[in-house]
Amino acid sequence: MIPIVIGVSFLIFVIIDMIPGDPGSSLLGAGARQEEIDMMNEQLGYNLPLLQRYGKYMYDAVFRLELGTSYATKRPVITEIANRLPISMIVAFNAIFFSLVFGVPLGVLSAVKQNTLFDRIPTGIALLMASQPAFLIGLVLMLIFSLWLGWFPATGIASWRSYVMPMIALGLPYGGRQLRFTRSSMLETIRQDYVRTARAKGASERLVIWKHAMKNALLPVITVAGNSFGILIGGAIATETLFGLPGLGSFIVSGIRQKDVPVVTGGIIIFAVVFSFVILAVDLSYAFVDPRIKAKYSGGRR
C-alpha cells in the first residue's frame, strides 16, 4: 500500500513535471518582472533537481498536509480538495449503490432463467449500457428530465435532486458490468456439486439460489466492483464536468486546461490514494464475506 502510494505519486510528479512553464511566472502572472519570477522560483525550490523537489513535495504532503498553492485561484490546493472530495465520493458511492441494486439481482435472475427472455433482455441492455460513455447517458438524461420535463436541475448543486441524474448516468454503465459478472459467476456456481446437493436434500429453490449459490457467486462480483472502481472514477470525472458538480474530477479537468500544476498533481495523487484504499477495503472485505479466509487467519491465533 505505502510503496504503491510512493510509486504513484512519483510517477504523477514526473509526468506533470513535463508540462511546460514554471511556477513563478504562473503564480505572478504576465506583468511580473523576470527578477521577481526568478526569486519566486528560488523560494519555491523550483530550481532544485527533480528528486529533491519530489522529496520536499512528499514531506510537505505527509507531515504538513500541504499540496502547494493553485496557480489559478492562489488558494491552497489541500483546502480545495477537502471541499471537493466529499462531492466526488457522494457521486461515486451513489452510483455504486445504484448499480449494485439493479445489477446483482438482475444478474442472478438472468443466470437462473438462462436463455429465456428474462436472461436475454437484461443481458442485452446491460451490454448496451456497459458500452456507453457515462457522459452520453448523462446528456440524454439531462435532455429528457431537466430540459423537457424539468424534474431535475441540469447543472450545479442545489439539493439532493442534483445528485440523482449523475448517479444514474454513472450507475447505468457500471451496473451493466456488475450484471454481466454476476450472471457469469452465478452460472458457474449453480453447476457446482453443493448446489446439486442442496437441491437433492429438498431445499426450496429460493433457498438454494439466494443462500447456497448467491453467497459463493458474490465473491468475484465484489472483486470486480472494486477493480472497476477506476472505470467509475473515469466516468465520474466526465459526469461531474457535464453536470457542473464542484467535485475533485472537474477540479482536475479545469486544472489541466489552465496548466495549474499543483492542482493536477495533488488532485490525481489524492484520487489514486482513494483508489488504493478502495482496493484494500475490497481485499479486507473478503475476510467478512468468505468464512474460508476468516478461518485461515483466526485459526493461527487459536
Binding site: 458500452s131 457522459f135 472514477i233 489541466i256
Partner: protein, 297 residues
C-alpha cells in the same frame, strides 16, 4: 454440442493448424448477433477508410453561418452544427479519427502487452516480480486520470492521445497475457520443447504465444470497445484532438452547448459512439464463445 464432439475438435486443433481457425470461424458464423456486429464494424471501418470519397474533408470544416443549427434535411443529412458545418461530414470524418485512435492504440497495446506479458510469464522469477510491482503502480491510477495527465504533459493531438491511451491499457493487457502464459508454460509440450534444446525466444514465439492467441484476440476486441469510450471521454473533456478536427466525443462536446435548441447535434455523434462500441463488445463476446466453447454459458 455434446462433450465428445468438443474433445474431437480440440484434438484436431492440435494436429492440424488451419482447422482450428476454420472451426472458430464456423462457430462464429452460427452466432448471428456476432456476425451482425462484425458487419456493422466492417461498414464503419470502410467509412473511416473511404471518408474522403463519401464526402470531402473540406465540407466537414466549411462554416456557413446561415445554416447554423440547421435541422436534418436533404442537403445536410444530419443537420448543421453551431458554426453551420455539415454534421454528416463531421461524423464521417470523425469516424476516421475515432477509429484510428481506437484501433491503433489497441494494436500497440496488443504488441507491447503480449511481448511483455509472455516474457515475464514465461521467464518468471525476479523479472516477473519487478514488472508486476511496477504494473501495480500503473494500475493504481485510474486510466482516465493517467491519460489526462499524459495529454497534459505531452500536449493534445492524435499521436499523443494514442500514446496516453495505449500506456494506460498496457498493464491490464500484460496481466491477462501473463496469467494465460503461466498456464501454458506448465504444459508438457513446452517442457518437451525445452528438453529438445529450443531457445527461449523460439519457444515463446512458436509455442507459447500461438496458444495464448485466443485470449489475446478476445481481450483486444474488448480493448477496442473501451478505447472508443476513453478517447471519446478525453475529447469530451476537451483534452483530446485539436479543434476544428472532428472526433465523435468532441462533436458531442460541441453539441452540448445547444442541447435545448438542437439536440440532433449530440444525437448523431452519440449514436456513432454507441453503435461502434456496442458492436465491438458483441463481437468480443461472440469471439470468446467461438474460441472456447467450454466457456459458453
Amino acid at each position: 454440442m455434446n462433450s465428445s464432439t468438443t474433445r474431437i475438435t480440440v484434438d484436431a486443433a492440435i494436429f492440424k493448424k488451419e482447422s482450428r481457425w476454420k472451426e472458430v470461424w464456423r462457430r462464429l458464423k452460427k452466432d448471428r448477433l456476432a456476425m451482425f456486429a462484425l458487419a456493422v464494424i466492417s461498414v464503419l471501418i470502410l467509412i473511416a477508410v473511404f471518408a474522403d470519397l463519401i464526402v470531402p474533408y473540406e465540407t466537414a470544416l466549411k462554416m456557413n453561418l446561415r445554416q447554423k443549427l440547421a435541422l436534418p434535411s436533404a442537403t445536410h443529412w444530419f443537420g448543421c452544427d453551431g458554426y453551420g458545418r455539415d454534421l454528416f461530414a463531421r461524423c464521417i470524418h470523425g469516424a476516421r479519427v475515432s477509429l484510428t485512435i481506437a484501433f491503433s492504440t489497441a494494436f500497440a497495446t496488443l504488441v507491447v502487452g503480449s511481448m511483455i506479458g509472455a516474457l515475464v510469464g514465461y521467464v518468471g522469477g525476479k523479472l516477473d516480480d519487478l514488472v508486476m510491482r511496477a504494473l501495480d503502480i500503473f494500475s493504481a491510477i485510474p486510466s482516465i486520470l493517467f491519460a489526462m495527465a499524459m495529454v497534459a504533459a505531452l500536449g493534445s493531438g492524435i499521436v499523443n492521445i494514442c500514446i496516453a491511451i495505449a500506456l494506460t491499457n498496457i498493464p491490464g493487457f500484460v496481466r491477462i497475457v501473463r496469467s494465460s502464459v503461466l498456464n501454458i508454460a506448465e504444459q508438457e509440450y513446452i517442457e518437451a520443447a525445452r528438453a529438445g534444446g529450443t531457445s527461449t525466444l523460439r519457444i515463446l514465439i512458436k509455442h507459447v504465444l500461438p496458444n495464448a492467441v485466443g485470449t489475446i484476440i478476445v481481450q483486444t476486441t474488448a480493448n477496442v470497445a473501451s478505447m472508443i469510450l476513453i478517447a471519446a471521454t478525453l475529447s469530451f473533456l476537451g483534452l483530446g484532438i485539436n479543434p476544428p478536427q472532428p472526433e465523435w466525443g468532441a462533436l458531442v462536446s460541441e453539441g452540448k452547448e445547444f442541447l435545448r435548441t438542437a439536440p440532433h447535434l449530440i444525437l448523431f455523434p452519440g449514436v456513432m459512439i454507441c453503435v461502434a462500441s456496442f458492436s465491438m463488445s458483441i463481437l468480443g463476446d461472440g469471439l470468446r464463445d467461438a474460441l472456447d466453447p467450454r466457456l459458453r454459458t
